[in-house]
């Protein structure tokens, strides 16, 4: 190595030689130095090592980039699942609307159906019969209606206070809802319950 030569200059020449960036004349000149100069040989080895390490480091950095690239891909899959779910819900809604429109599912926006009216009439008739039976002293409510241990309700009934029968029982409400297939159709019965 030329003692007047800057070490950085020397290393740079070694790198350019190793990288094939020297002209043929410059490469030949550098090789001539390699024949005699141990420091030139070691500089070349160092340049190659640096190149290898940098390449490996960049390769590692690329791997990290690849990993971070995978994450949005997974999110995309999740997005698709959500989209498919919403599409399924939307499709189901369309089918329900179509069934309602075709009359397969009974829905009468104008008022209760014949079956609802029949059920309501039967219940009204039953209440009237029970009331008559109570006036005649013939009414003994069965235990299954209130529960065997519910003495308080039985006592209330015996005392002639407001009877539980005055309220629409839950099974009745459920039956009407089932017939209507629509919660809104229960409104007339709610009013009826209010009237009682």
């Amino acid at each position: 190595m030329n003692p007047n030569e800057c070490p950085n200059e020397f290393d740079w020449s070694a790198f350019c030689y190793a990288a094939g960036e020297l002209s043929p004349a410059e490469a030949e000149q550098f090789e001539a130095r390699l024949a005699d100069d141990q420091s030139a040989r070691e500089a070349l080895a160092k340049a190659v090592e640096l190149t290898q390490v940098v390449a490996a480091a960049e390769s590692q950095a690329d791997s990290f980039r690849a990993v971070t690239f995978v994450v949005p891909a997974r999110r995309a899959v999740a997005d698709w699942s959500a989209r498919l779910s919403w599409m399924a819900i939307g499709g189901l809604a369309v089918v329900v609307v179509a069934l309602i429109g075709s009359g397969i599912i009974g829905y009468s926006p104008s008022g209760p159906s014949e079956r609802q009216l029949a059920l309501a009439a039967a219940w009204t008739q039953t209440r009237a019969d029970i009331a008559q039976a109570k006036e005649d002293g013939l009414w003994f409510p069965p235990t299954w209606m209130f529960g065997e241990a519910d003495e308080e309700l039985l006592a209330m009934n015996d005392a002639g206070d407001e009877s539980p029968l005055g309220e629409t029982p839950s099974w009745m409400t459920a039956a009407v809802f089932g017939l209507a297939g629509e919660a809104a159709s229960a409104e007339p019965f709610t009013n009826e319950r209010g009237e009682n």
């Binding site: 950085n8 290393d11 740079w12 070694a14 790198f15 030689y17 190793a18 990288a19 094939g20 960036e21 043929p24 490469a27 090789e31 390699l34 024949a35 141990q38 040989r41 070691e42 070349l44 080895a45 160092k46 340049a47 190659v48 090592e49 640096l50 190149t51 290898q52 390490v53 940098v54 390449a55 490996a56 480091a57 960049e58 390769s59 590692q60 950095a61 690329d62």
Partner: protein, 197 residues
Amino acid sequence: MSSAEVPSTGSSHLDPSVVAALYVEHGEELRRFLLGILRDAQLTSDVLQATFVKLVQRGHQTRIESRKAWLFRVAYHEAMAYRRRQGVGDRVLRNVAWHSNATQGNGAAGSAEEPLLRLEAVQSVREALEHLPPEQRQVVRMRIYDEKTFATIAQELKIPLGTALGRMRAALIKLRVRLSNPDNNDERDKSHSDESE
């Protein structure tokens, strides 16, 4: 034990343990040196082997203190002779697969702890790369990882060739410092930060 401390046997051949010690001590550096000349991992391995064959045959004629230089000189002449025989000269020079050799260059011949040392060096240089100015790192990546020539880099980045060379050179100075001393801190980087273009 250093090769300089390993005595020769005085016979017509070097003691195998001496050869092995020299291989452990200088084999990897020799391999890189040869790779710089030959740019081919397989050729490099062949020439490295030929070099150590010569060491076995004639190493007893060398002085202990000059064996490293002797090995490099023999390797150089073997490499040049190989290139002439194979006719690979300039054809290989312009057809380099740099980092495909990088992983092969650290083969089984190295010492057992060498891969760990190299991993440390890679980690250290990777950190140094992250601290480079973006324009310098870009040139480093394009030259070493993407294997583009400086002329191509200058053309693609629309910068003068001298600017591309200057960025690479400034970056290499910083990276070399880090490679030489993986434990160094940023202060050593800063000492070279003014040497950029």
